[in-house]
Amino acid sequence: MTTAPGTPNAPGTPNAPDASGTPDARGMPDALGTPRAPDVEVESDEYVTGWRRMHPVTPALKGWKVLVAVLAIGWFQVGENLRQAIDLMQGKAFLALLGGILLIGLIGFGYSAVAWRVTRFAVTDEAVHLRTGILFRQQRQARLDRLQAVDVVQPLLARLVGLAELKLEVAGGSGSAVSLAFLRESEAEALRAELLALAAGLQRPGTVVPAAVATPEGTTGTPGTPTAPVAFEVAPERQVYELPMGRLVKSTLRSGTVPTLLLIVAAAIVVSIASRDISAAFVLVAPLFGAVTFVWSRINQGANFRAAISPDGIRLRHGLTESRAQTVPPGRVQAIRLRQGPLWRGPDWWRVEINVAGYGQSDQQQRDTVLHPVATREEAMTALWMVLPDLGVDDPAALVEAALTGKDTDGGFTTAPRRARWVDPVGWRRHGVRVTDRALVTRTGRIWRSVDVVPHERTQSLGLAQGPLQRRLGLASFVLHSTPGPVAPRVQHLDAGVAAALLDEQAERARTARASATPEQWMRAVGAPTPADPDPEPTTAPPEPAPDREAPAVPPRTGADA
């Protein structure tokens, strides 16, 4: 079905051949690992063999945190009366303090060592099992067919010693991610390939170990057991775009925070000169601190940003101090948003963000959900194409163009009627929605432009909302609910009748699209080639990322359900 992009949505084929494969993939009663009892199975996992341990250096890396935390608390306590503290620090007291710090450090490392001893994980064909906990034992099981994303995270310290953390997102609510920390870097990579291949529905390559990535680490746990991990071949990938450092720095400086800060600085200088009192400058400390933190985090997270496509899905690599390699399998991106502030309009830069179930519930959603921190128009198109190879229109470039910068009925958009200017005098001409065969495209914002795209089969639920003023004017807002994340599509101030019709049609469209969507195990849709015969599509994908013309013809691999 990847060869015929139109089929999944073709009317009259709700039970497309590939849909027959869904019952076994979806027969389980929990569509998402039952959020209330997230992925933690209390039943025994004794039958699981092939338990493995984390890398022995793990306690050293984790124990640090205890020491740092204690020192930080101590610093805050002492910080206020530092002089008294220094006076106390003479002679034996100093030694006692050193001893205390040492003791705390030892306790921290000791605890981490014990925790390391009891932490084990195992990979079966269906799930990843993780046993943790010293006092309160926890057995966690993440089902692979519910896998939403796999991240390889390397904090600075781990990076220096060549270790990495493997994180599995299964969309079971906050704290449902399974974190395997720390593993040897090569082992983490091999394990990621294995998990993604299993999640895709591929069979284990049996006893034949592909020479390419035969990692001795992978089989150290229990040699000889049938479930002992046999290395999968790492899926080939092709880089699609990367972000030059210069553009990242420039864009951060033009991001609205910095100009605001400059305004505050100017105001403070004016006030202090006018009042001949320097104390006004002190109000600068807090915003300055905030701005520096913001700029640093943007640059730190966006540095070395590279995106690639592979049969496993979208690969994102980024980070200056802490490097992250995210893999989002096909069909796991729930929605995509392109944003542009007023200062980015000149160079025509766009920030591209995505909703992925599982991301977005953590506190670091800011960095997990970015598909491109600063994209040019072409790169933004490419990013959109990676997620949704087929927009469902004949001329995707024109549609995206109209969505990004157009107003009124450009590009076939349905817009807010003229009377909406009473409730939104500035932006009413930008509010618009366009329904294609594959996705819903919404457009909003005149100064802060924003475009959301949601594939029909990823629609969660729909809604209408109407306030008293809108009711007077015969308007209503259309809301589309997606999984948690930065994208929350909403079309303001549509004609009430149009909005109601849209709601009805969209519910119907989402239903048909769901019925024919590719299964969760994405390789099943293409007849599950063996790993020895990897999906050839990355090589057939357009050599030049030209989403405007080639995307509908050549969707990368199973991305048809993106």
Partner: protein, 173 residues
């Protein structure tokens, strides 16, 4: 939709929150009693306190406060039945519709295949009034589809129905 005048577009005369092929089931009127009881429990002590203050202080202007509270209570007594009247739900073949609000109106369409789990809640007061509430959860936290004021047997029926229909139409994320 490009027309300026409100009634010119024939589509806007159609009631957007009342699709044509849908039969709405209103929620139980007992919800009015339950909500008013909650209001009474909250407002009565406040009112009593304010009245006592006014009586003992002996200042005429102090009666303004109990009067305001009484006005608020009257407004709620007027509002709650209207609110409850506006709340309704409808089961269609593939999705559930939940409607609410008079001034700020909203309508939510939840496909059965998207339902992750269903909550049925009944607090002590609700149990006394013989009602329960059903809340539907999808993978989106924005889906605010809760139906208050269902008779317990109806709530249980709805829950089971949702569960069975959800299983039949289940889709991944």
């Amino acid at each position: 939709m490009t027309s300026d005048a409100v009634p010119a577009d024939p589509r806007s005369t159609r009631e957007p929150f009342d699709p044509a092929d849908v039969t709405w089931t209103p929620v139980s009127r007992r919800l009015v009693g339950a909500r008013l009881t909650v209001t009474a429990i909250v407002l009565t002590p406040v009112l009593a306190l304010l009245v006592l203050m006014a009586v003992f202080a002996g200042e005429a202007w102090l009666w303004v406060f109990p009067a305001l509270v009484a006005l608020l209570a009257l407004w709620i007594v007027w509002l709650v039945p209207r609110q409850v009247n506006a709340m309704a739900y409808a089961e269609r073949a593939d999705d559930l519709l939940v409607r609410r609000g008079i001034m700020f109106r909203s309508l939510v369409v939840v496909p059965y295949g998207r339902m992750q789990y269903v909550d049925v809640n009944a607090g002590p007061l609700a149990r006394r009034f013989g009602i329960a509430s059903v809340q539907l959860h999808t993978a989106s936290p924005a889906t605010s589809a809760s139906i208050d004021g269902l008779p317990p047997h109806e709530a249980a029926r709805l829950r089971d129905r949702m569960a069975s229909r959800g299983e039949a139409r289940l889709a991944g994320l």
